[in-house]
Amino acid sequence: MTRIFVPKDAAALAVGADKVAARIAAEARSRWLAVEIVRTGSRGMFFLEPLIEVEMADGRVGYGPVSASDVASLFDAGLLTGGAHALRIGKPEEHPFLSGQTRLTFARCGIIDPLSLGDYAAHDGWNGFARAIAIGPQAIIAEVTKSGLRGRGGAGFPTGIKWKTVADTAADRKYVACNADEGDSGTFADRMIMEGDPFALIEGMTICGIGVGATKGLVYCRSEYPHAGKTFSEALRIAREARYLGPNIQGSGFTFELELRMGAGAYICGEETSMLESLEGKRGVVRAKPPLPAHKGLFARPTVINNVLSLVAVPTVLDRGADFYANFGFGRSRGTMPIQIAGNVRYGGLYETAFGLTLGEIVDDIGGGTQSGRPVRAVQCGGPLGAYFPRSLFHTPYDYEAFTACDGLLGHGGIVVFDDTVDMALMARFAMEFCAIESCGKCTPCRIGATRGVEVIDRVLAGVKPAENMVLLEDLCNTMKFGSLCALGGFVPYPVMSAVRHFREDFVPRALAAAE
């Protein structure tokens, strides 16, 4: 029986993976061929999706992008023996997009059946957990600290220090809260993990719980990810039945229970304190800090809040050791970063690599420039609150410090590419508009500033005192940046001001622009 792997990642489904799988099954039946179709996550090469893979004696052979109408011709070409076809890409891991990557966090994604405990264990699953229970809580935290792992959600806070703070805070109970409210445009790494390797998140959270002395974890997943929610909740059920969750996990003496909570469509709930409010069942209004969530978080108990990617990096850190992980990277940015290349890009997808590539290498060499074939004009890094970079900054190394130095942020690792048809004044306006839609309303600079920001840009574009209004826009951005309670209002000046600084020629009255 030949095994054929077809992704069920939402992005693969979006371009017809289910129809392809159904056609493969039908075609095989009609030809009296025995095939087993295994649904996997995605390899992250979305330009090749749906990417199907056939298992051969010496590894897999990939074909993509496959549409249902290609399936018959694939069988004619000898699909089951890796036959030649225009869509054949050879061994997926030798494809240039994959061969240059260092896949630690995404080592299994796209390869295994996400809900098979057997597959997970056969691909180094639970090794990190095994070492964690062998070395105990204090050594777990020491190992994570030594690895140099920093929060992959955006802020880049050292994970080990956060864990130690929670471990050192006395309380009747503690929580691990996983932020899977991946709302930044251009990011999909959390989604890919929850759909393609959910046990890794369960393992990472369990290790965290053991490390800090928490017995309960919650995953807050955004409602825009219904497939991630379905796969992860199924994974929870399977893990619970196999005693990888619950009391006395695998006879270790440690207890850890995990729950999935779906959000309800509020970008702000990706902000950690707003997420806590939402988990508690309230409006997702941001809390003032202090107290830090590590001291007083969910239900006023010490709470570790980490992003999916931070937690999924943990099993690797424990399994392979802190030095192994820290060996990758650049400066104070250690380990690997799953970079997500998106938007108007030729080779869009997930590229996990050590920190330190330049932005230009990522966009031009790996991403292959725009999909439209037009010149790249701008890239937005780090989601709707991240700065727009012009080509003149493409030499910037991709790491936390270098990006901060040029008023940018890595955020959650998303890069959105725009060609030369983009109107940067409209992108700046959108940033303000988005902030106005998603503001929780607690602080004035964000609640009112975002709406005023849209109005000021509209006046510039309408030709109403454009020079004066540009000064006003900058002043407003300063107020929002320094006066907002959280990163929503505080960071929205990044896209706006970077657009102004690097693409000022777009901020001209539209009547004039049309006349030119």
Binding site: L13, S223, G263, K282
Partner: protein, 163 residues
């Protein structure tokens, strides 16, 4: 929004609603799971539902109302039989989603959040579906669609209506 098709939504039934509330009441912070489950069952969170939830969780109606109105997903009235959520975030914009959305809305004769006159389809904006390397993207009744253009959306809508 899970985009569950609205024909599956049941008419309001206080007894069933109380059961749903009771099923989730034991959770820590049960409010969102309860509201989501109620909307899943009845297609919206009505005033009657707000009253029941407030009673069950020992909160004021104002507090529950505050939560319901904070989150974009919760609706006070059911949407059309089908729900199309078009992504308007930056990655989709870079691939022309704004022009596409304008064309779709014009073709259907509705605005954002509007429902076609036959009650068949509601169109809503959504800000990122995590399908950013296969833009422009959308969810139709909760199922993802990528690399969209007007023809593909039209075809998908016709398929959904026929189903």
């Amino acid at each position: 929004m899970d985009g569950k098709r609205m024909p599956e939504a049941s008419a309001w039934n206080a007894e069933r609603a109380s059961e749903i509330i009771a099923e989730h009441a034991g959770l820590e912070g049960p409010m969102l799971p309860i509201l989501r489950a109620l909307q899943q069952e009845f297609g919206c969170v009505s005033d009657a539902a707000v009253r029941l939830v407030a009673e069950a969780l020992n909160l004021t109606r104002a507090e529950v109302h505050g939560v319901v109105t904070f989150y974009h997903d919760f609706r006070r009235e059911p949407c059309g039989s089908h729900l199309l959520q078009l992504c308007r975030a930056e990655a989709c914009q870079s691939m022309g989603s704004e022009d596409l959305a304008a064309a779709v809305l014009a073709k259907l004769g509705v605005g954002w959040h509007g429902t076609t006159r036959d009650g068949q389809l509601t169109v809503e904006p959504v800000y990122c579906l995590g399908l950013c390397a296969t833009s422009p993207s959308a969810l139709l009744d909760g199922e993802p669609l990528g690399r969209l253009n007007l023809d593909k959306i039209t075809e998908a809508l016709e398929e959904a209506r026929a189903a």
